[in-house]
Amino acid sequence: MREESWYKMLVFSTILHLVVITAVSIPIKKPTKKIELSSTYSVNLIGELAGSISGQPQGLSTLTGGTRTEGTLQKKESEKITRPQPSRKKQIPERKETKAISISKNKLTSKTSTHSNNTLTKDELIQLEKRIGEIKRKTNYLDVTQMKAQSDTGKKGPGSGSGIQGYGLPVSGQAGGKPLDLVSQKYIFDIWEKIKEAWGLPGSYTTKKDLESIVTIKIRKDGRIIDINFEKRSGNRLYDESILRAIRSIDPLPPIPPSFNADTVEIGFRFLPGDIS
């Protein structure tokens, strides 16, 4: 046979290989997309928070109706605290705001409800300052100074964190609107630090921005983790399993501080690949 048909066959063979390679690589992408889409139910937890904190940059704040969230909250008996992960610098000042607002929500319900959309007037700011002062007086713990120092540095530092990330918000017990004291906050913070320490991922994962999992853990009074629940899966099995493993490895935790006033505590954490230490 003539040599020219070699070239024809070579081209044919190359095309065949390209087709096979694309065929192998394309259909695998589809199911992961589906998983990403199917995780919408997870929003509720944070939705409630966004309602109680106005003026926070919120990635997930497009929530579906307060009524639904109310329902889920009522179902859950234990005190629920959600603290989606934050960068430490930004989080603490925001926490204070959170507290202040939730208090003002208790006492001045009419006012906060009218200002639910992102703008704080000067009067409100003054009132916030007052509330912060009140809280500091009320929660007269040793930690206060420490936390304050941190928050001050936080305020001075450039707010360079991405808008989506910075919102740490401990909020609302079941009765509605009782803000967390600093001991409780520190407890949660310590747990988060422990998890981060225990969490291991291969290096290539830390650059992958779009992996996000939200996990709630239920802690018994004596510090045992009795339930780990994925509110949102990242869609990547390895990633989710690494989180599970990290949480299991820190069990048991120190006992719940008495300030929680509850038998079990449920805490939500948001895991982003960038958090890994």
Partner: protein, 217 residues
């Protein structure tokens, strides 16, 4: 973005794994080129052989064959026939009276032509055998290297967590998978073509006997 897909795994693999996969891809492309080429070549040759034997059976004499086949297409059986024809005419021009040993000479020249044609048909088939033998080993090399890397990473990170090890090993295993995917078609095709080649060779031998017979007539 991590999709769990083979392609994204490959992209995140190390340089050795990438090189191995590239080599295997080249092997695969060439072996498939040979497979397609040989498929066409063999089926064409077989068809020519059948037609040739059919014609030579129907033709009464060698002279009639020559008239039928003159200007025929370029194929193994045509060449076989015409070397015999050329040899015969040269014998005739050398000594016009037909001598007894011309038959031996013709037989030899036909044998030579058959071996030439066999060589032509076998050409590059050995590449398939090479691919079949070496591709799994090349893939294995990539895998071993990848696992070495994975273990080194455990050492550096100090965690024995499966999440650290698993992706590296998974990436490494792709090399073996591709090696096997390259080798298996090559083995199958090589054996298939060997069987077919045997058939073609025996057909050519038959054809040469037919040619000798028709000359004798």
């Amino acid at each position: 973005m991590y999709t769990g897909g083979v392609l994204s795994m490959l992209l995140s693999a190390g340089p050795v794994a990438k090189a191995v996969v590239l080599i295997l891809l080249c092997f695969s492309i060439f072996s498939w080129t040979i497979i397609f080429f040989k498929l066409r070549q063999y089926s064409k040759t077989e068809k020519d052989g059948e037609r040739f034997i059919k014609t030579i059976r129907e033709a009464d004499s060698f002279k009639k064959m020559v008239s039928i086949y003159r200007g025929g297409s370029d194929n193994a059986f045509y060449r076989l026939f015409f070397t015999a024809y050329k040899e015969l005419s040269s014998i005739k021009s050398e000594n016009p009276g037909i001598s007894k040993d011309y038959f031996n000479r013709l037989e030899n020249i036909l044998k030579i032509t058959i071996s030439e044609e066999t060589e032509r048909l076998e050409r590059r088939l050995s590449f398939l055998a090479t691919t079949a033998n070496t591709a799994p080993f090349i893939g294995l090399f990539g895998t071993v290297w990848g696992i070495m890397d994975a273990f080194r990473e455990i050492g550096i990170r100090g965690t024995t967590s499966l999440a650290v090890v698993a992706p590296g090993i998974s990436e490494a295993l792709i090399a073996t998978a591709i090696g096997l995917a390259t080798a298996i078609p090559a083995v199958l095709a090589y054996n298939y073509f060997l069987g077919r080649l045997k058939g073609i060779i025996s057909k050519m031998e038959n054809a040469s006997i037919y040619i000798l017979n028709s000359i004798e007539k």
